[in-house]
């Protein structure tokens, strides 16, 4: 993993899910691509800190997550808007995903629940990988993810009843 080629081979299969995950946080495809690029570079700069006994995907998604939140903070500082710095998709980017609905559903949950649901669904991470990404025990991943799903289900039910 100390060679760029090895790093690239480990990273390449993660990129489509990483892009979707980043998009779910930063709010536009363009910013998601920037975040993925930053994370790829930052990961390479910190490759000496990677512990090969731990899941690479979890380690790298922790970096990507930080890049996304850094980008959000910079956007929020640079401008104010109804979505706190999030851009709607540009008109020339047809997007089959109902981002408005997904964002709305996630925004009503706690930050912890949003975090774990994004890593699970958009990142496609397994429990061990989520544990590595969030630096929490595997048992906490299991219980937090379950509570997040219950909160999401309750939210959906409430909206259907309204």
């Amino acid at each position: 993993m100390r060679h760029p080629g090895a790093y690239e081979r480990a990273l390449r299969p993660l990129l489509p899910a990483a892009a979707g995950y980043a998009r779910s946080i930063v709010g536009s495809r363009h910013d998601a691509e920037d975040a993925v690029q930053q994370a790829a570079l930052r990961g390479w700069e910190r490759i000496d800190q990677y512990d090969a006994s731990r899941p690479f995907r979890g380690w790298w998604f922790a970096i990507l997550r930080n890049c996304c939140f850094d980008m959000l903070r910079r956007s929020a500082a640079a401008r104010t808007g109804p979505l706190g710095g999030l851009d709607p998709p540009a008109p020339d980017e047809p997007d089959p995903v109902d981002w408005e609905g997904l964002d709305e559903a996630l925004r009503r949950l706690s930050q912890d629940h949003q975090d774990i649901l994004r890593l699970k669904y958009f990142g496609g991470l397994k429990y061990d990988e989520i544990a590595a990404a969030l630096a929490i025990p595997r048992g906490t991943v299991m219980s937090r993810l379950h509570l997040a799903r219950k909160a999401l289900a309750a939210q959906t039910r409430k909206e259907e009843e309204a």
């Binding site: 100390r2 060679h3 760029p4 080629g5 790093y7 690239e8 990273l11 390449r12 990129l15 489509p16 899910a17 990483a18 892009a19 979707g20 998009r23 779910s24 495809r29 998601a32 691509e33 920037d34 993925v36 690029q37 790829a40 570079l41 390479w44 089959p96 995903v97 109902d98 981002w99 997904l102 649901l117 699970k120 669904y121 958009f122 496609g124 397994k126 429990y127 299991m142 219980s143 993810l145 379950h146 509570l147 799903r149 219950k150 999401l152 289900a153 959906t156």
Partner: protein, 125 residues
């Protein structure tokens, strides 16, 4: 059979239980309608979000240039070997044909090493 902890329903859904516990929890679900209802609700939610997340995936156009590490052990050895052969073969090797052959080999090693230095390392989906 141990009772089912609520979070084990999610873990079952995600395939994160051991084989033995997976079987036990499925038996509990089969015997307990309320547990079954809860599991099916989670399954439905999971199917919706999994489908949405899969649709959200895309290949980023980002291209990243990675910095090469310092000279690797193999590269250093190739450099030393190539230079040594180039420098020493005309002086100590007879006949001249073999010396030229070794010089050519040294040159090939150096060129191969140079190629590894100039090859771009790009990261793209």
């Amino acid at each position: 059979m141990n009772p089912v902890r609520p979070e084990e329903l999610s873990a079952l859904l995600d395939g994160e239980l051991s084989d033995e516990r997976d079987r036990e929890v499925r038996m509990h679900i089969a015997e307990n309608p309320a547990l079954g209802d809860e599991f099916r609700l989670l399954e439905q939610l999971d199917a919706e979000w999994t489908a949405a997340a899969r649709t959200a995936q895309f290949s980023p156009v980002a291209r990243v240039r990675l910095k090469r590490p310092a000279l690797s052990g193999f590269g250093a050895a190739a450099l030393v070997l190539g230079l040594s052969v180039l420098r020493l073969s005309p002086k100590f090797i007879e006949p001249v044909g073999i010396a030229f052959g070794l010089q050519a080999l040294g040159l090939v090693i150096l060129l191969a090493f140079a190629a590894t230095l100039t090859r771009p390392d790009r990261l793209a989906a």
